[in-house]
Amino acid sequence: MTELNRDAIQAQLQTCTSKEATFKELVSLSKQLDRLTDAEKIEENKVKGCESAVWLIERQENGVCTFQADSDAKLMRGVLAVILSLANGHSKAELQAMDLAAELNEFNLSSYLTSSRTNGILGILKRIKS
């Protein structure tokens, strides 16, 4: 499984000074996200309310959560890579104590998190905490 390094991703996104640069960075990040198999892309793994299809799977080992996520849209896969870099490696209790939305805002992604996509992303964050 590809390790998603939060600090490296954040540093990379913060160098982006235009929407085009952020777009290209998200596309590049999307390639770091391990894809789910078709067997895993089932209805119960689907996060509702996203404009693109999003699937999220959770595994727990010794109290530590590891998430895998996928989408049919690349930009969303880039955003998912960012989210997983925040969420992976924490316990459920830690995740529930974290303000994931606020942390996500530190990634210079505001223009990709606005409008109708926001609801979808909040849905993903909610599912990660639950």
Partner: protein, 405 residues
Amino acid sequence: MSFDANTIRDEFPILSMEANEHPLVYLDNAATTQKPQVVLDALISYYTTSNANVHRGAHYLSDRATAQFEHARDRVAQFLNAPENSYVIWTKGTTEAINQVAHGLEWCIAPDDEILITSLEHHANLVPWQQLAFRTGARLRVLPLTSKGEWEPEYAHYFNERTRIFACTQISNAIGVKTPLKDMLAAAKAVGAFTLVDGAQAVAHYEVDVTELDCDFYAFSGHKMYGPTGIGALYGKAHALDVLTPLQTGGEMVSHVTYNSTEFNTLPYRLEAGTPNIEGVIGLSAACDFLACQDREDMLIWEQKLARYVYDELKFNNDIEIYSPATDTTVVSLSVPGIHTLDLNGYLDSQGVAVRAGSHCAHPLMAQLGVSSTLRASFACYNTLSEARRFCDVLLEAIEILGDD
């Protein structure tokens, strides 16, 4: 009069903006059009010289506001070429107009009656009828039209003696195809059905003539024809409007009220409860004036030429599938198999190009086309050939960037 997009552009202040550090290329006109200075001026002028509630006050400003408000009604009636013995009812837009009719005719729908729509409808001309069918036990039927807007003869039986209502779009919002309205309306009338035309996508481009269409109802929105948001109209023949139960009740729509009974006002007020969107009405009237000053025929030819340019530029590209017709449209709706339309849209947006990606409030039509969403570039009078070219260039760049997996 002759039409020139570069001249008309100057009348739209917003078009000189930059978006994401690129010149704005606004090609989301089927969602909403930008507004010319004359419309903006009309709104400011109303609030600086005439603001008062209409119909009720016996004072100077109220008289001014009421005069402008009722003049606007005449203006819109003229815009639609409405015959005498018909009315224009103000609504929030197309959606409210259709809901008013769907609610208003509920009393005359019995179980086993049929409500007929087509397969090219926007959800606004589908869900209100579906819900009406659920409430009444009537059957919602969907007349299959091809994605080219053709009606096959074998479907003639969809119009039958049980058809109470036939509601149909003039132009598909998702793919820009025209429906065979004339033939379908004739078939609907032959079986005695009420007829409603959803004109939301037509009013900005075509000269509408409800007398010639001879439909019972015609619904449209102001914001899709260079007017403000939140205002639209329901045109109706007097006998058809007369039988509608009001969607809303309250002030303005009554003539006498006691605790035990209410006598409703006459048309058009009976269907206009509450203080209306006065500024919207006045802005819409200004939009009609704006359109009346143009050579509508040349304007349409220009818009179609832009869509045709994009169609021709992209039609031989094997990555791209186009769902819009080659001619007679102002829209190019397409998809790139293997690339999500939201991703294409994201790149276009980063380059200042505004289009629409999605299902265009037409899920069943998307299913008919076999896609979950399309990317739609829709043109208005102020778009230029260089903008059409820019859309094509940026789209091809997007495919290049997004296509390498």
